[in-house]
Symmetry: C2
Subunit: 357 residues, 2 copies
DNA sequence: CTGAAAGCGCTTACAG
DNA sequence: CTGAAAGCGCTTACAG
């Protein structure tokens, strides 16, 4: 075995290659490759022997060589185009990633993660990753109306899975360029939330929302208005925020200071709902006596406040797992299809109750 | 240009290679490579012409080919070996990642992320990544006493940066196999915290802690005890937890139910401190009148509670950036060195005050 | 300053 | 069932 020089001058362990295995087994490299990859053309006995030699020598395929000849990176990409502070605060992203991981790590596929600082950095990353064939496909989250990533990915023909296309947009599958979608049920869930509050007697329900340019937020907005109308609720207010606790507190203060304050508020994350608890107390509103609060995307944080926060809950890790499974399937040439919806359910805790008559 | 067949049967855009550029420019592939990589051996005029043709053709190097010949993956790896739920809840990890990203994305290096479900999965991942040359180096966090990753990485000779080796362990640099360390000042910071509370007149200070097997937690534990003794504080209690809000609440309840409850509690994360607020209120302790609470690793969550939580703050993104810079330097063959400490500072908010006499 | 060639470590038709 | 060979798209000594 030749001892090559390490880049930094010291001796290093020479890489074991299929050439070493072939020599040891008295076979050609081709035969070894077939044996190792479970391809036909090798006897079972030979295959076993090769496997055993490979294990003994501690062989692992060079990803670069494998990728170069097979045109497969065996990696998928995820770009997160939100401010780092938001990413850190929302449990969603890490939970989603762990769901992806649980699927892809099983089959030796790696995850490339990029946190895009600038908005256009995201498209640039897709472009570069694909041009360099660093990834075999991508998972796209936080879709917006007229999302520029959609035509880019279509034109580049990157296998992709779009996550969070709400079911209330029946024309979405076309809009995402024939690629796979993992839909979410934001509209349906919002309807459930409003019906629940209406049943408790609430007539003035407000919503402290995220940016409506995101499709899933728009779906919630729409369902909020529609369902409120359906229930005959007149006073429907939506306050837009940047998801920060501060913005949530400000929105709550504004809503509760109005002449006819709402008796229930639905938030688009957990932090804002927590912040609103403090504001409510400060302004003398008893929760849930005077005011019901409902958080969205339940998290352990919702369990530790006083009162604990009722919240809309979904299995985000499962959502990530479904997205990864769909993408792997898509990359492998599976037919394009829309995956099942991840169901959101209402968890009732102490922050919601009957409206005071 | 030959139109190759796509894996799934449809026509695809043929990849632009340096062969195309060479043909277009009337040069050899070698000359093109030199021109594109800024190597000497090509005239400035030629270099410019080649660059221009490459841009016009939309050429990007194949990462696989480049890696195969240069033995550089142009990627670094990060394995997170904590339960997904914890990873999602602690802003630390995503902030740390965004700090890494801010450095590596600048030079075209990618980040491979793995969320290890099982403990030994972490070592297996390092082993595989390195054997496949998927990464040029790794960043290691959450070091423990007798960490099995340390000898593994030393034996495999993986370039690595170990983050969070506390400065109170002066023998650590040796223990991490001559690799680069980014140290943290957990011991010093704990000392600052205790001195601050002691100056406010607190004599019974308790600590609601994470697992002491982590070096940074052990450093806090040690400094906690040492500084308390130095200040002549007798009653020093430490309750271990799993970082969950529930555990924090339980620990607080236990501490406050004792015959002589502490007048100040220091927590190892923000969630537990938030949970303790509720418990304190429930048990009739006024914060900060009867009880001072101090969170560790400040986060926006600490700002929105009532009262807002005083907390130990550090720039986690900067920590990630330093780690990434050190690793890139290390990979490039820079001399091994211990990087600067990331300083932790005390942010005083409403949850800490003078001890009631 | 430039060209022709070998090599990185695999995969994959193509002959035997 | 197996071997010899070409090829993936780069980089890098080595000649000219």
């Amino acid at each position: 075995m030749v001892d090559r020089l390490a880049p930094r001058g010291g001796p290093t362990i020479a890489r074991i290659t299929i050439t070493d295995i072939a020599r040891e087994a008295g076979l050609s490299k081709g035969a070894v490759s077939y044996a190792l990859n479970g391809q036909p053309g090798v006897s079972e006995a030979t295959r076993r022997r090769v496997r055993e030699i490979a294990d003994r020598l501690g062989w692992h395929p060079s990803q670069a060589a494998r990728s170069l000849s097979s045109s497969r990176a065996e990696a998928i990409g995820l770009v997160l185009g939100r401010p780092p502070r938001l990413l850190a605060l929302e449990p969603f992203y890490m939970e989603f990633i762990s769901g992806i991981e649980s699927v892809i790590s099983r089959c030796g596929t790696a995850l490339l993660l990029h946190v895009a600082e600038k908005a256009d950095g995201e498209c640039e990353t897709y472009r570069r990753w694909w041009a360099q064939r660093r990834v075999d496909g991508v998972i796209v989250v936080d879709l917006t109306a007229g999302d520029e990533r959609v035509p880019l990915i279509r034109d580049l023909q990157i296998p992709a899975v779009f996550v969070g296309v709400p079911t209330s947009h029946p024309d979405e599958p076309q809009r995402v360029g024939g690629n796979v979608c993992v839909r979410t049920d934001d509209g349906v869930a919002m309807r459930d939330a409003i019906l629940y509050l209406a049943r408790l007697g609430h007539r003035r329900i407000a919503r402290v929302a995220g940016a409506p340019r995101y499709l899933h937020i728009a779906a919630r907005d729409e369902a909020f208005v529609t369902t409120a109308a359906e229930c005959g609720l007149g006073d429907v207010r939506v306050v837009q925020t940047d998801y920060s606790g501060e913005a949530g507190a400000r929105a709550t203060r504004q809503l509760l200071s109005a002449p006819e304050p709402p008796t229930a508020i639905v938030f688009d994350n957990d932090i804002m709902a927590v912040a609103s608890l403090g504001v409510a107390a400060e302004l003398g509103f008893d929760v849930p006596g005077d005011l019901s609060l409902l958080a969205w995307d339940d998290s352990p944080l919702c369990e530790i406040t006083h009162p604990a926060l009722s919240a809309m809950h979904r299995d985000v890790a499962a959502l990530g797992a479904v997205a990864a499974t769909s993408l792997l399937h898509h990359i492998a040439g599976g037919s394009e299809e829309v995956s099942a919806v991840a169901a959101t359910s209402l968890i009732v805790r102490g922050s919601t109750g009957r409206a005071r008559m």
